[in-house]
Amino acid sequence: MPSYVFRYVNAVGFGETTRLLLTAAKVEWTEESSDLEQARLDHPNGIPVVLIQKNSDGSPDVVFNKFATIERYLARTYGFLPANPEQVELQEQLRDEQSSLMKLLLSTVALGIAATQDLRDFVFTVFERCLEMFLGSRVKLLRMNGNTGYSFGSTLSYTDMAIYSFMKLFIVDFATSSKEIARRFKCKMPPELAKLAATVESDPLLEAHMSKNGRFANVFQG
């Protein structure tokens, strides 16, 4: 059975889906984190990520350094993507769309944080509109699945973990860097996505991760 080393920064960032996949896969894995602020200074053009898959004797087998490739590989290898090609397509499409939106939202936020109040207000308006479009499509998906808290069927999938990670980025990471963004994000959350977050957090496959790193879904209660 292979083991894994995941190298990234000590933040949610883009790495949470990988952490959830590794945990849910019940494989042996460790994380080597660097400091977020130092990483931003060292890598102004994008913080690198590395996943090393090791053989059973501990020797490195393969090294991945692209988030999308890492996630799809883990999801396929450990059964969090279905066998049906069309259903795989749908989950991968949702994920790629989410990645594009995440980059847009983060660029928008970066523009707004250092700007005048007028520009910040404009940026926040754009942020909310993009977010609403995304949330609308995900609510539709969850309702089509009977609002069970899962995107497909009744078990944890790649899409569930990706959506949860997206929510955690804005609610947890932005709680320190931009409380306004975190607040606006939380206000926009429909009950269907709040339920997804709670469902993911209570999934037995992720107990080890949630116990160590905490939960956030309770922010939607009350």
Binding site: A68, R72, T77
Partner: protein, 221 residues
């Protein structure tokens, strides 16, 4: 047997690798160029490309969006990506890297001021890294013009499309740095380009290009 309709603009843009995949797969496919932006609301996610997969009687079954998702679907369906997860991931990682550098270039084309300068630096670093990694991969495979094995594969086609794009990236391109991706100065990549162009399964693609000329790289004029 499924039939495919690719909706995109009549440029290389995001879709040249996909055109090569569809041709190499030997499937029945056509291309539409929707009136834009008039047709934007009629697309599944409001953008192009879209690949419509129809069954034998021509009725639409599935409409796929997101370029790389479409590519992987076709590549897997028609054997241009291996079934082994790890082998497939090795190809996908190389392909994702090509897409990232292409995306940086496209962002540069739309940027101004300080952001433009940042993107030039990013492009330079990422392009140098890309060439190093891809040359190493081709060398590990014996420099036979393929990244893996001795048959045409997904990443071979994606790399061909990528280097073809940068051989004529059009106005507003990163002219100072485009030379980093000039395949005529990279022997291993020149070999790949020649091998792809000699591939029998791609004869219809190159025959059409001979008649119509190569598509423009982008919509910028």
């Amino acid at each position: 047997m499924s039939r495919y309709t690719l909706r995109y603009f009549n440029i290389q843009g995001l879709c040249e690798a996909l055109r090569l995949l569809l041709t190499a797969s030997g499937v029945d496919w056509t291309e539409e160029h929707p009136e834009w932006p008039r047709e934007k609301p009629n697309q599944p996610l409001g953008h192009l490309p879209v690949l419509v997969v129809s069954n034998a009687d021509g009725k639409g079954e599935l409409a796929l969006s997101e370029t790389l998702v479409i590519e992987r679907y076709i590549a897997r369906e028609y054997g241009l990506l291996p079934t082994d997860n790890l082998a497939a991931a090795r190809q996908e990682q190389l392909r994702d890297q090509l897409h990232d550098v292409w995306s940086t270039h496209m962002e540069y084309m739309h940027s101004t001021g300080e952001r433009s300068a940042e993107l030039v630096t990013k492009f330079e670093q990422d392009a140098e890294c890309l060439v190093g990694m891809h040359v190493a991969a081709l060398q590990r495979n014996g420099n036979n013009g393929h990244y893996f094995g001795d048959a045409l594969s997904y990443v071979d086609l994606a790399a061909y499309a990528f280097f073809k794009f940068f051989s004529n990236a059009g106005p507003r391109s990163l002219e100072a740095k485009i030379g980093l991706l000039d395949y005529t100065h990279i022997p291993e990549m020149s070999k790949l380009m020649a091998v792809v162009e000699a591939s029998r399964s791609l004869e219809p693609y190159f025959a059409a290009e001979k008649v119509n000329g190569a598509r423009l790289a982008t919509r910028f004029k």
